[in-house]
């Protein structure tokens, strides 16, 4: 299912799978406790929008790929009462938190009666990036022909990443080997970026143009959190002066947790030709499986660089393309600092190791020769890990609205989450 060999060869399903529909629902900073704004309800709405956008008959859908986890840091607190009035509004599975703080395929099918022919249900663990890879391979392999691809996020009141083991005074179990230093979630990335700055003679301030550009692009994303709730640009001074969370990662380098849902409709290239929207062809997918050797489970900078470089090689070789064939890139940015590693791993448009921060001084906007993160990513629209994928589809379809890049959007790349262990996709306007 996952293509992890350094030289996996041309993808056998290149150009034979296409994205045709997009649906978004949300956003909100936190769940308001109502049934209509639950993560389950938003997931249904996003799926229905994607189906309508594609112009597909729901009865023709035979696949559903989703991430059953809907948070990384807002788990339902032990002992907290489950709102059974919300549960009762839906056709529930045997888990009362299904549709509230998690999401199963069974729950979706039970609550979308129009999905009468779904036979293939699969998990894409952790991220829309994984869901896309799984769905693309499944359609290519003939396990299904038309699939919803769904990723949703809930967020609860209270602070993110403060519950569970993080609230305990000591660490036990396997986590004692991976979390020995305490610290916030961005600690590992901050450590890598500190090493990066030393290795290449750079400074954190050089991230400012990327952050400004990302927020600006995010404000052009109508479905995004900042566009909807706090339409504020991010001047360089605001970014540079922000409080350190784990130096050199500051508040804005850490993405803002939100609630949102996104769904895509994937199908075969043959079926896509007759649908409502222009098909966006999947030219390849690739994944990383590097295991960090460092104590504490944090990959070193060099391990990140190796992983990103390997992913770049896999992506282009498997798509039959060269790095400079990329029209734009939408690699992951939550935490913002590792976007640098992802970008350099692509080795596109002359950006190699140690070059990204200097590249940010140039025109990286949607009007430039090689737009960097035209989606705005998590920096520009909140923590969902899916804006980048939506943007790739919409850019190539010519439906990115105010975000539409000036030059033709023929080939894009997106994926994540982390530099090590992520899943990545090459999208194209042509199947060839």
């Amino acid at each position: 299912m996952f293509r992890t060999a350094v030289h996996p060869g041309l993808w056998e399903h290149k150009g034979k799978v296409a994205a045709v529909g997009v649906g978004h629902q949300g956003t909100a900073r936190r769940w308001d406790g109502t049934a209509e704004n639950s993560v389950g309800a938003w997931s249904i709405a996003a799926c229905r929008k994607a189906i309508a956008d594609a112009g597909v008959n729901p009865a023709d859908i035979d696949g559903l790929v989703l991430d059953t986890t809907t948070t990384t840091g807002a788990h339902w607190p032990a002992g907290r009462e489950i709102p059974m009035d919300v549960v009762a509004k839906f056709n529930q599975t045997d888990d009362p938190l299904d549709g509230i703080a998690k999401l199963s395929g069974e729950w979706i099918v039970k609550n979308m009666p129009e999905l009468t022919n779904v036979k293939y249900i699969m998990t894409g663990p952790g991220c829309m990036s994984a869901c896309i890879v799984v769905a693309a391979q499944a359609i290519g392999d003939g396990l299904c022909h038309t699939s919803l691809v769904l990723k949703s996020w809930h967020n609860l009141d209270g602070r993110y990443y403060q519950g569970g083991a993080n609230a305990e005074p000591t660490i036990s179990g396997p986590a004692k080997w991976t979390n020995p230093w305490a610290g916030p979630a961005s600690l590992g990335t901050a450590t890598q970026f500190q090493r990066y700055m030393y290795k290449y003679g750079k400074s954190h301030d050089l991230m400012a143009p990327f952050m400004q550009n990302s927020r600006h692009n995010g404000l052009l994303f109508p479905e995004g959190y900042w566009a909807q709730h706090r339409p504020e640009e991010l001047p360089a001074e605001d970014y540079i002066n922000a409080r350190w969370v784990a130096k050199p990662a500051n508040l804005f380098d850490n993405d803002i947790p939100i609630m949102a849902s996104a769904a895509y409709l994937f199908t075969t290239a043959e079926r896509a030709r007759d649908l409502k929207q222009k098909p966006v062809y999947i030219l390849n997918h690739a994944s990383d499986n590097l295991k960090a050797r460092g104590f504490g489970g944090f990959p070193t900078l060099e391990e990140c660089e190796t992983a990103c470089e390997n992913v770049g090689t896999r992506l282009f070789e498997g798509a039959g393309l060269k790095p400079d064939d990329l029209s734009f890139e939408n690699m992951y940015d939550g935490f913002s600092l590792f976007h640098v590693f992802h970008l350099e791993g692509l080795r596109s448009h002359g950006i190699g190791k140690g070059d990204a921060l200097d590249a940010f001084k140039g025109d990286i906007s949607i009007n430039g020769p090689f737009p960097i993160s035209p989606s705005g990513g998590n920096v520009g629209s909140g923590r969902t890990r899916f804006w980048k994928h939506t943007d790739c589809i919409q850019q190539i379809q010519g439906r990115a609205g105010a975000r539409q890049m000036k030059l033709p959007a023929n080939v894009g790349v997106s994926g994540g989450p982390m530099p090590t262990g992520g899943n990545f996709t090459v999208w194209g306007s042509s199947p060839d």
Partner: protein
């Protein structure tokens, strides 16, 4: 303006403290205006950017005497020579930065009764919630 009990400054955190914050807190715009009208210097010290804090004050239809990042509370103290400094917030970090900067500190849930109004009567002792 010098109040009867001295010169006082109140710093408000925003999210979880002011009613316009996200999440909303219990400190209303009316309370902030009342303090300002009575002669307190009022402003905000938040993790929000300066741009974002200015937008909040515009929504309150008020001009802040100061806007600062939360971890720069000590700069506020250096800018203004006052008899008392108070920061109000809802997070451990608010308390930590307030104490580091030499501010009195009130949790948001302790502050909505406006205990600073007692200062106008010359009540100079510890404020509610302080040891």
């Amino acid at each position: 303006m010098e109040l009867s009990g001295g010169r006082f400054l109140i710093s408000f955190d925003i999210d979880g403290t002011l009613e316009l914050g996200d999440p909303p807190g219990r400190i209303t715009t009316e309370m902030v205006k009342r303090a300002r009208d009575l002669g307190f210097l009022v402003g905000s010290c938040s993790d929000r950017s300066a741009t974002s804090q200015k937008a909040i004050w515009e929504r309150m239809n008020m001009e802040a005497d100061f806007i600062s990042l939360k971890h720069m509370l000590d700069d506020v103290k250096q800018r203004f020579d006052m008899h008392r400094y108070l920061h109000i917030g809802d997070r451990d970090l608010d308390q930590m930065f307030a104490e580091q900067a030499g501010f009195d500190f009130l949790w948001e849930h302790e502050a909505y009764t406006e205990p600073w109004l007692d200062w106008l009567n010359g009540a100079g002792g510890p404020i509610a919630g302080q040891p």
